[in-house]
């Protein structure tokens, strides 16, 4: 009698939950850090864009093959050298149901050009944008821009009406720690909308019913982003089935996950180079002990370069999953050559001699700033560097902290010696020079300044003759490589792990596109 009761209850439960089990599935996604802000123009940072990309869309976008294709714009053409005409899709609605018009596009591009935007460098050549009619936008550039489409693929389109209602006309001033509604809520035209946002804990993406496109697999209706900072915990969560996809598997655990019959691992060369920056602009190091700035001397920079045993880092810290780098860009980017990517040899004796010749026979002291939740094994790389530089007498004090603080303090110009990684979303060298090498550029925290490089950057922006443009890129790379303005370390290799029946296509820019996700 009692037994029958139990069966009935069980059956009721089964019937109640069975349908949701078969038709709607949640993908639980984890990585070590979280998006810094939901405001799509406030922070130009990997995981932040990864989250925004699920919710917001741009005029054009890169598909799974990394080629530029239409998104909100269906077609485009140039009218003369400086004018572009974009035709918009007419069936696009924001997730609250309001239709997208050219007014929203004009508003968003102007928004991304404001002072507080971190994307203003992307579209610095855009001089005017206007709505021709409801579904046509005209963009004018200050000079011919061969890479405008690449740049626009990262400018997300917001709703003008929503921004006005929510006091979000200007991008959040992230560097000043401003809190805005747009930083915690999102309204986009993309395949998902965010229904719950707890920074660093949980973000829930539900399918946007108004989305114009087709999901690859209709069963994918919800994505949960659950950041787990500790590597071992993240892997344990994956292995126990609590998490479905991890987009930054710790390299030391790949073998363990591969051995699990219920999981699979995919690896690909990532479009990201890890390097160390040394402030050459300051007259005196903030954390130094010599009273001057040793980094001003090229010999010192070269000594540090040659003291780093990158092969040991590759073998022991990265477990073989990295490609030692000679420049801060990677294969596939316009301007990259194998020749440029060669490193100076690892040579401790030569490094010691360089340091002594430069006037620091006993070395010096400096603090190395590192993120501890951004790049693959970032803190471990820095710890290894501390030991290697110690061997030539440079006493490095490691200061590792969470990425949001690391980046903020770096932009505040607080770092003497720091780690940074750089991806190239536009797949053109110009992006690297524009952010890292141009005099006064926002991420040029080494305070590098060279008029020849600046001139070459102007050529990259305005030259439509590709041969001349590529010559300028090659020339600029040669100058900065010879100057050793940064210490390149390696190109990252990323690995994603997932349950066997969950397919999220891996992409070299480490951005998952959940609209292409599917279940077996």
């Amino acid at each position: 009698m009692k037994y029958g009761y139990f069966i009935k209850i069980l059956l009721a439960f089964f019937l109640a939950f069975a349908p949701t089990q078969t038709f709607a599935k949640t993908i639980k996604w984890s990585m070590q850090g979280d998006s810094l802000t939901l405001d799509p123009h406030a922070q130009n940072e990997g995981p932040t864009t990864q989250v925004s990309r699920q919710v917001y869309e741009a005029l054009v976008t890169r598909g799974l093959d990394m080629k530029i294709g239409p998104q909100l714009a269906t077609e485009w053409r140039t009218q003369g050298p400086n004018t572009w005409i974009f035709k918009l899709r007419e069936d696009v609605k924001f997730s609250d149901g309001t239709p997208l018009t050219s007014e929203d596009v004009v508003f968003s591009i102007l928004r991304a050009k404001q002072r507080t935007s971190d994307f203003k460098e992307y579209i610095s050549t855009v001089s005017g944008v206007k709505a021709v009619n409801d579904y046509t936008v005209e963009i004018t550039t200050s000079k011919p821009n061969p890479i405008l489409l690449n740049q626009l693929s990262n400018i997300f389109i917001m709703s003008k009406k929503w921004c006005q209602e929510n006091f979000a006309i200007a991008p959040q001033n992230w560097d000043a720690g401003q809190e805005t509604i747009a930083a915690t809520k999102a309204l986009g035209t993309g395949p998902f909308r965010i229904t719950l946002r707890e920074p660093n804990t949980k973000t829930v993406f539900k399918k946007n019913m108004h989305w114009w496109g087709e999901m690859k697999d209709k069963k994918v209706t919800e994505i949960n982003l659950l950041p787990i900072k500790n590597a071992a915990t993240r892997v344990a969560a994956l292995l126990s089935g609590e998490i479905d996809v991890v987009t930054d598997v710790p390299v030391q655990d790949l073998a363990r996950i591969k051995n699990s019959p219920a999981h699979k691992v995919e690896s690909t060369a990532q479009m990201r180079t890890i390097f160390l920056g040394m402030d050459q602009g300051a007259d005196k190091l903030r954390t130094g002990n010599t009273g001057d700035n040793p980094f001003k001397k090229k010999a010192v920079r070269q000594a540090l370069y040659q003291a780093i045993d990158i092969e040991a880092i590759k073998k022991k810290v990265m477990r073989g999953l990295s490609e030692p780098a000679g420049i801060i860009t990677f294969p596939g980017v316009n301007g990259y050559t194998k020749e440029l990517d060669k490193r100076l040899p690892y040579d401790v004796a030569a490094a010691k001699k360089l340091l002594a010749d430069a006037g620091y026979p006993n070395g010096f002291e400096v603090e190395l700033r590192c993120p501890n939740d951004r790049y693959v094994n970032d803190e471990a790389i820095c710890t290894a560097v501390v030991g290697m530089l110690g061997k030539i007498g440079v006493k490095v004090n490691l200061f590792a902290q969470t990425k949001s603080k690391h980046f903020k303090e770096l932009k505040d110009n607080q770092g003497d010696f720091y780690m940074l990684g750089w991806g190239v979303p536009t797949l053109d060298s110009h992006y690297v020079f524009h952010y890292l090498y141009e005099s006064g550029a926002s991420w040029n925290r080494v305070n590098f300044s060279n008029s020849d490089v600046d001139a070459a950057i102007r050529v990259m922006e305005g030259e439509v003759n590709l041969d001349k443009r590529n010559a300028a890129i090659a020339e600029a790379w040669k100058i900065v490589k010879d100057d050793i303005s940064y210490l390149p370390l390696h190109h990252q290799v990323i690995s994603w792990a997932a349950k066997k029946d969950v397919n999220v296509p891996i992409r070299p820019n480490n951005e998952p596109l959940f609209r292409f996700a599917s279940f077996d």
Binding site: Q252, D253, R256, D309, K316, G387, G390, K391, F399
Partner: protein
């Protein structure tokens, strides 16, 4: 004066404690273990050729060497190396010195604070006693690890970052010490209440000995037995508290790791088969805490006449 010819050693041999000690194998084993650990930790410079706290002496290529008895192990690294190429054995010994220093200092700090407050509260009574005892009640409701976390968090807020790494060890001592004192206060107050009504105390007060002398010369030596017992057991707790805080990442910095920091750092490699990085510090911590606890148990049995058979 018939024991004038006897040496101190003879006196110890003749004592009740010594008798109880040689009759208790657990006490002998645990004190031998502790003696070895203490010796190795405090004279580690003379025992191992490595200094794991000096990053420039490390070679990254030595990283992840397994213990010497496995097929890939090397003889020079008995217990293997960690992810930075530090020799595990010397890192553990250097680390246990930090753990022991923090544990001892913290327990000494809470002992002085707790006994000072408890003894005076028991002796003087009145409103002062009430305030002190309610204070201990309030603090006993807060778990000691939370209290330590709170102190550490506040210290992080007020101490500048440059100083924090150097100050970390003192902050840790204070944090653990402040979270353990109520036990000492309670025990010493209870013992004082018993002692203060005894005739020898009344006699001293009647002949006009000052309160200060009565408290420290007459009462304090007589309440030390229970205090020493909880002090010994508290030492094990303090070492574990230090390991817990360091494991949570709020203790000593990874460049000068204690046992807890070592366990935390090794935790990342647990899945990848490099078990020795976390296993050896953990087992070392267990042996250390277990030996202290056994010794504490033996002391309680010996020093408390009521528990004697």
């Amino acid at each position: 004066m018939d024991d004038k010819g006897l040496t101190i050693w003879d006196k110890i041999k003749d004592s009740e404690i010594y008798f109880s000690f040689i009759k208790s194998p657990t006490a002998i084993v645990s004190s031998i273990l502790l003696a070895i650990i203490f010796f190795c930790s405090f004279f580690v410079e003379f025992i191992t050729p490595y200094n794991p706290f000096d990053p420039s002496s490390l070679s990254l290529m030595d990283a992840f060497t397994p213990p010497s008895w496995t097929s890939e192990g090397k003889v020079e690294f008995l217990l293997g190396t960690d992810g930075q190429g530090r020799d595990m054995l010397s890192t553990i010994l250097y680390g246990s010195r930090i753990s022991l220093i923090v544990g001892f200092s913290a327990i000494l700090f809470s002992l002085i604070l707790g006994v000072g407050l408890g003894l005076t509260a028991g002796f003087f009574g009145g409103k002062y006693e009430m305030i002190v005892m309610r204070l201990t009640d309030v603090q006993l409701t807060v778990p000691s690890i939370l209290m330590a976390l709170l102190v550490d968090g506040i210290a992080r807020g007020i101490i500048s970052r440059e100083l924090h790494d150097e100050m970390a060890i003192y902050v840790l001592i204070f944090a653990i010490g402040i979270s353990e004192w109520p036990q000492f206060a309670r025990v010493s107050r209870a013992a004082t209440l018993v002692e203060k009504n005894k005739d020898y105390v009344s006699a001293s007060i009647i002949i006009g000995v000052s309160n200060f002398i009565v408290i420290f010369k007459h009462i304090l030596p007589n309440i030390m037995r229970p205090v020493l017992v909880i002090g010994t057991i508290g030492l094990a707790l303090a070492i574990i508290a230090e390991a817990t805080l360091s494991f949570l990442g709020v203790g000593v910095p990874p460049t000068t790791p204690s046992l807890g920091t070592l366990i935390r750092l090794g935790n990342d490699f647990l899945f990848s088969g490099e078990w020795w990085i976390t296993f050896f510090p953990a087992i070392f911590l267990v042996i250390l805490a277990f030996s202290i606890n056994l010794l504490g148990d033996w002391m309680r049995d010996t020093l408390n006449p009521k528990l004697k058979k």
